[in-house]
């Protein structure tokens, strides 16, 4: 590994993908060989509504630089309405994250269907670029864990 490469900032990015649409979209991106950065690591959840805001906070606590959540397009949720719940929860969470000092650009919600491999890849490209431009994130700290 060259020295330059060591110095280069490589963001840690967690992507939550619902099993039915966006995880399948990511699979399609893969089988269509549509590349995106290796900095993105996907966690499979049954539905975007399974994503607890706690998971995202935990990611930022453990040093993630960006978290993206992908689900089925509004109206197309495999479980009928899960993505609507997810959308509301994330809107609330993101506004609070901004308040505690995590830039709004570090989180994103995107709807990707099983047929949108290209969109998945493009979205990840964009998101990685955005996070790279924002640089290293400030690690959140869980005050409950601090010895006072």
């Amino acid at each position: 590994m060259s020295i330059e490469k060591n110095e280069e900032f490589r963001p840690k990015i967690v992507a939550f993908c619902c099993n039915w649409c966006s995880y399948a979209g990511a699979d399609l991106a893969g089988s269509s060989r549509m590349t995106y950065s290796a900095d993105v690591k996907i966690i499979r959840v049954p539905c975007s509504c399974r994503v607890n805001p706690m998971f995202i906070l935990r990611a930022f606590e453990r040093g993630a630089d960006g978290v993206i959540m992908c689900g089925c397009h509004p109206g197309d949720c495999h479980y009928t309405s899960g993505n609507y719940y997810a959308r509301r929860r994330m809107t609330l969470l993101f506004s609070m994250l901004d308040y505690i000092g995590v830039e709004s650009g570090r989180t994103r919600v995107e709807w990707v269907s099983a047929a949108e491999g290209a969109k998945f890849s493009e979205t990840m490209h964009e998101f990685v670029d955005k996070i790279t431009s924002l640089g290293k994130n400030v690690r959140l700290e869980d005050l409950r864990c601090r010895n006072l």
Partner: protein, 662 residues
């Protein structure tokens, strides 16, 4: 502590070319709980599964991580392998190092590093896995087919022949669909209605088939094997049992000016009507928007002339509720609207028509009695120009990104039929590519050129310019001659793109079936499961899944039927054990989980709990495993953290997050 075995698949070179699989296996041994790790060329092969079997037995493994392709491909394979070796199948986790890693990264070091991280996340998850046992659910042995075109007809016949009852729901007053509007069919030039009508009759007479025409699916609930569907039977205003189909009402109806849907608006129909002569069922409906009786209260002629007394102005919409084990979607297609393509002057000249309109003009039962004539002045055309790819293969939002697939062939058919019947008419086709894959297809197209002298010009048309004398000046490019052509024509036929029936989105939403940006329903696997929706129990037939011609539609309709029959033949289905569960000690009975549950799977019971020695009766959430589909909405909503999802628990997902961010 678990005893975990990690198996890293090479997938030939699919994974091994970009991921250092040996290193991944080696790194696995440093992870907590891992007691065994190995790599192999094809983990999904018999030999690969044998390795897993042996390791489970020898190392007394309690959990498995397979680093391979997507769990959507082989999760079931490896779960079955685990079960054969005596391990609970839900103690298996897949690290997707192919679709999410080796196939999208080029740098070996980078891809290996990512594969290791994905593996760590899977190990972290399996460490917290618990054995799960699926429940059972019953199968209602009845199928629903949505759409009564050739796709729905064929699927229904095949299912019915296998001995299962089938209902067809068709929106229009008759089954038959687009195929009933066609004049001839390629590549053999059979008359469309001659081959379709017998099938329609067969459907009508089949003891296992029940047809709901002039009806729409109103709502769908339930899941594979046990769907509950509400069907709206729109008020026909004619009693189906009494009507003899004599047709007198249609003759006598004084309101005859409504554009005929069946003739694509080129002719008119009466307010009480059957769409076409061979309609099944042969029972008319009253179009209440056109009917004088409904508009003004005066008239009632149809009622007076009906000897059977079948006219019933007071009929109302009726909702039928029925249970089904399987649902087949066969909603078909329509042609795109051409309002964004007015360079072809479709809205400016009556002599610029779509191919489907030409079908009606060529048909003996059509608006011109089968005579090829200009709609503007009734004159016989001498020069006809066909324009291909109108709205197909478009990168902008004017049209569709896909190839409509059928236009090249039907245009060759039209050209051939016209030259055959009217040898003095010149036919020119402007094309971008002529696409004729299919048995005897290219031969068919070549016949149009070689035997019938159809003039094919490679190039698009820029503009159709109506002339004051009623002629149409076609300005196109001849790319092979490198010329701009100005061709005078009497008629221009546009091969407009086809698009899924606009209603399909609503239906897909009701079925929670995946749909793509073009409104085509998504198949479970593009190659291996082409007639199944990813949503269990939903099958796809015909153009609702993608553009296809009649032979292909019929094949796919049969395939969808077989899949549905395979489901209906089962007595029991195993249910997904990844359901929600509530911790009785944490639940405060607030009802929030029940409010978000889309399946009504959560109820409340007053139960006695022992909370650290204190016994009391509390109102607690109880999940019905048979109803819960495992989405997890309740787990996030629960304010006390009592609700959790088996197989995707809070601790497991947090462990994955930790492993990735490590």
């Amino acid at each position: 502590m678990q005893r975990i075995g990690v198996f890293v698949c090479h997938c030939g070179t699919n994974i091994a070319a970009t991921v250092d699989v040996k290193k991944v296996a080696e790194m696995a041994l440093h992870e907590p709980g891992v007691v065994h790790a190995e790599d192999y060329a094809y983990m999904c092969s018999e030999a690969g599964q044998e390795l897993i079997h042996k390791a489970i037995k020898e190392k007394h493994l309690t959990g498995l991580v397979v680093c391979s392709c997507s769990p959507r491909m082989h999760e079931t394979t490896f779960r079955n392998a685990a079960e054969k070796a005596g391990l609970n199948p839900y103690m298996v986790e897949i690290a997707n190092i192919r679709e999410h890693c080796s196939w999208i990264h080029k740098d070996i070091e980078e891809a290996t590093e990512k594969a290791v991280i994905l593996m760590r996340a899977a190990i972290a998850k399996v460490n917290l896995d618990a054995p799960l046992k699926p429940g059972e659910s019953h199968v209602t042995k009845r199928a629903l087919v949505i759409g009564g075109g050739i796709a729905g007809i064929q699927t229904a016949l095949d299912i019915a022949e296998a001995g299962y009852p089938v209902d067809i729901v068709e929106k229009t007053p008759s089954i038959g669909g687009r195929m009933s509007q066609l004049d001839k069919t390629f590549p053999t030039l059979d008359c469309s209605s001659c081959i379709l009508t017998p099938k329609m009759g067969e459907v009508n007479a089949h003891p296992n088939i029940n047809i709901y025409t002039y009806s729409e699916v109103e709502s769908v609930s339930g899941f594979v094997g046990d769907f509950t569907v509400e069907i709206r039977r729109k008020a026909r205003s004619v009693d189906m049992d009494k009507c003899t189909g004599c047709g007198v009402c249609q003759d006598k109806c004084p309101s005859k000016k409504t554009p005929s849907e069946f003739n694509r608006g080129l002719g008119t129909r009466s307010a009480i009507y059957t769409p076409f002569a061979q309609a099944v069922p042969n029972v008319p409906v009253i179009d209440r928007d056109a009917c004088i009786k409904f508009k003004t209260g005066k008239c009632g002629i149809c009622s007076k002339v009906c000897l059977a007394g079948a006219i019933d102005y007071d009929q109302t919409d009726e909702i039928v509720t029925e249970k089904y084990g399987a649902i087949v979607v066969a909603t078909g297609f329509d042609m795109i609207k051409l309002d964004k393509y007015d360079e072809y002057a479709y809205s400016q000249s009556k002599d610029v028509i779509t191919s489907l309109e030409l079908e009606r003009i060529m048909n003996a039962a059509g608006p011109t009695g089968g005579h090829l004539e200009r709609l503007s002045d009734g004159k016989a055309p001498k020069e006809i120009v066909f324009i291909q790819c109108v709205g197909s293969r478009c990168a902008d939002d004017r049209g569709k990104s896909y190839c409509s697939k059928v236009c090249c062939m039907y245009t060759a058919k039209h050209a051939m039929l016209i030259r055959d019947k009217y040898p003095d008419v010149n036919v020119t086709v402007f094309y971008i590519d002529v696409r004729t894959p299919g048995k005897n297809f290219d031969e068919f197209y070549r016949r149009a050129v070689e035997e019938y002298g159809v003039n094919y010009i490679k190039g698009q048309v820029g503009k159709v310019i109506p002339q004051p004398d009623g002629k149409l000046l076609v300005q196109g490019a001849d790319l092979l001659d490198n010329k701009q052509i100005l061709k005078e024509a009497d008629m221009v036929v546009l091969a407009a793109a086809i698009e899924p029936n606009p209603d399909v989105r609503k239906i897909a939403t009701m079925l929670t079936a995946s749909i793509d940006t073009n409104n085509f329903l998504t198949e479970a696997h593009a190659k291996l499961r082409p007639v199944e929706s990813p949503t269990a129990g939903i099958f796809l037939s015909g153009v609702c899944q993608g553009p296809k011609d009649i032979p292909e539609t019929v094949s796919q309709a049969g395939a969808a039927a077989v899949k549905a029959i395979g489901l209906l033949a089962k007595d029991k289905l195993l249910t997904n054990p990844c359901t929600a569960q509530s911790d009785e000690l944490l639940c405060n009975g607030c009802s929030q989980c029940a409010n978000v549950c889309p399946y009504g799977a959560i109820t409340y019971e007053n139960k006695e709990v022992n909370d650290h020695g204190i016994r009391e009766i509390r109102r607690l959430a109880v999940v019905n495993d048979a109803l819960c589909q495992g989405c997890g909405a309740c787990t996030v909503t629960c304010p006390s953290g009592a609700m959790d999802l088996q197989g995707f628990s809070n601790r497991q997902i947090l462990a994955e997050v930790d492993a990735i961010c490590r």
